[in-house]
Symmetry: C2
Subunit: 298 residues, 2 copies
């Protein structure tokens, strides 16, 4: 069946995209909640643990960054869309940062796609991009579930500078924060294996402490609850404390570099994730609509 | 027992360093060959397959780059050295590139270190660094054998630019060359597992197609002969054809950037690999002598 790509990884066979919401309070809540207009915050297709984790992360971001974020202004048919046959649904939620904030934008998404096997692919993601007032890393979490017993987890603070040239940056954001301990912890679980994105560009964008793993277990619900959730929450907390609310002084010349690098990274991510997959999944018209809305912010 | 670090990775517990040769013909051959002055090319402590592979790679580099390389001018007590108790031996071989060549230098090494368990740690490595007349990737291979049944393999063309900013570079050197197929091939073997360097800096330096694997098998000799050797030779061939002999035009402003990045990468690599390990293994005096000789070229 159709193949979808998430906002950050290229998933070898089925891929997906999604996200949404309306500018009400809480901002991530959408008013509509039927099959045609299922909101980002509804996470209607995923398992309980998966949903609880995403809701927790979304509400934490919402609470901590509240004063930094503009309302979501995506058109309703970009906040939520589906294909003609109703086998693929997606939701998007996008909030830009207010002028004085360090936030570029926060993007949430989910995608649901029926598989020929009778199962379904479900991808949920939440990412936060900082603007050029700071060079601190971005945040990304993505859960890609292709069966009740199999999941790919992407959890990272992607760096915004060339780490080879900047060992101090590496120390500040990756060594001093002890981010690698989470990757090491998961690495010791027999159900968890390293995952390699099929996109070399995506592999280049992530940090050296990135958690990119495939989890195969009959007890996936318990695994998410016991192991994945605490780690994802901890990594988000690190990002909020050290990156979003950290004090980084960025000079004018560095800002130009940051803007250039951020733009390249975002445009390549869109191209890799959505360029070919969105039309295949949702048809060219819907794909154009969604891509156009995203490009306005990216 | 002592811990040694190789020229490129930080090996979690025992680590090592090494390499050598005299400016005779063939250039990688050393005249002396006793315990005190065992030459780089002798590879005296490793298994037959391991030795054959390294000899093959060294002679390929030697043959293809012959006219590009100056003789090795390391002092004899840096070309080969050992600790006071004779439990750790190492050899180094270093040849700088001639003025008109794209070669900065070629560095070969081995290290042997007796382990408290009665076994030994053996590390062999070969790396080639290009100068700022080109921005093409460097070459690195390293075999770290801590027992007759266990080996870490590092095989990569480390990039010399920020890949996030330069998708064309990624395409030229990593996608078009299909380097990832080698990593994928090894990934399918049950004896092979991904390996993560304990140094985040080293993880940042390698490419997205880097082969960083741990191999655990009773049939390590056969594994090296059948699977590792063909891949290592193929990756070296790619490096020679596309990088060392490729045509890259580098502008003056890019050269400054390259020099800065190369210097940072090399000095950090020395610091991480050798800074603390060499004194511990060989004593401060020998460590200073070796580090000083390397810093002259690095």
């Amino acid at each position: 069946m159709a193949t979808i790509s998430s906002s950050f990884i290229t998933y070898s066979s089925p891929k997906l995209y999604s996200s949404c919401s309306s500018p009400s309070k809480p901002r991530f809540t959408c008013s509509a909640s039927n099959n045609d207009r299922m909101a980002f915050i509804d996470f209607p297709y995923v398992s309980t643990s998966h949903k609880h984790l995403m809701l927790d992360l979304v509400s934490t971001v919402q609470n901590r960054l509240n004063s930094f974020l503009n309302p979501c202004t995506l058109p309703p048919d970009v906040e939520s869309y589906q294909n003609e046959t109703g086998t693929a649904h997606a939701a998007l939620h996008l909030q830009s940062g207010v002028q004085s904030s360090p936030i570029d934008f926060v993007l949430g998404s989910w995608l649901h796609c029926k598989l020929p096997s009778g199962g379904a692919l479900n991808i949920t993601s939440l990412s936060a991009y900082l603007n050029s007032s700071t060079d601190a890393p971005n945040f990304l979490v993505e859960l890609i579930q292709s069966s009740p017993t199999s999941m790919v987890l992407i959890l990272d603070l992607p760096p915004r500078v060339d780490l080879v040239l900047d060992p101090e940056y590496l120390k500040t954001f990756y060594e001093d924060t002890q981010l690698d301990k989470h990757r090491q912890y998961l690495d010791q679980l027999s159900e968890v294996k390293p995952y390699f994105s099929s996109s070399l560009y995506i592999r280049s964008v992530v940090s050296p402490t990135a958690i990119l793993v495939r989890i195969e277990t009959e007890g996936l619900e318990e695994m998410i609850k016991t192991h994945i959730s605490p780690i994802a929450k901890e990594v988000l907390k690190t990002w909020l404390d050290v990156c979003a609310f950290g004090d980084r002084v960025v000079g004018e010349s560095e800002r130009d570099y940051l803007k250039k690098r951020d733009e390249m990274s975002k445009s390549k991510t869109i191209e890799i994730d959505l360029g070919s997959n969105l039309p295949r999944l949702f048809g060219q018209e819907t794909a154009n609509r969604v891509l156009e809305a995203l490009r306005e912010v990216f």
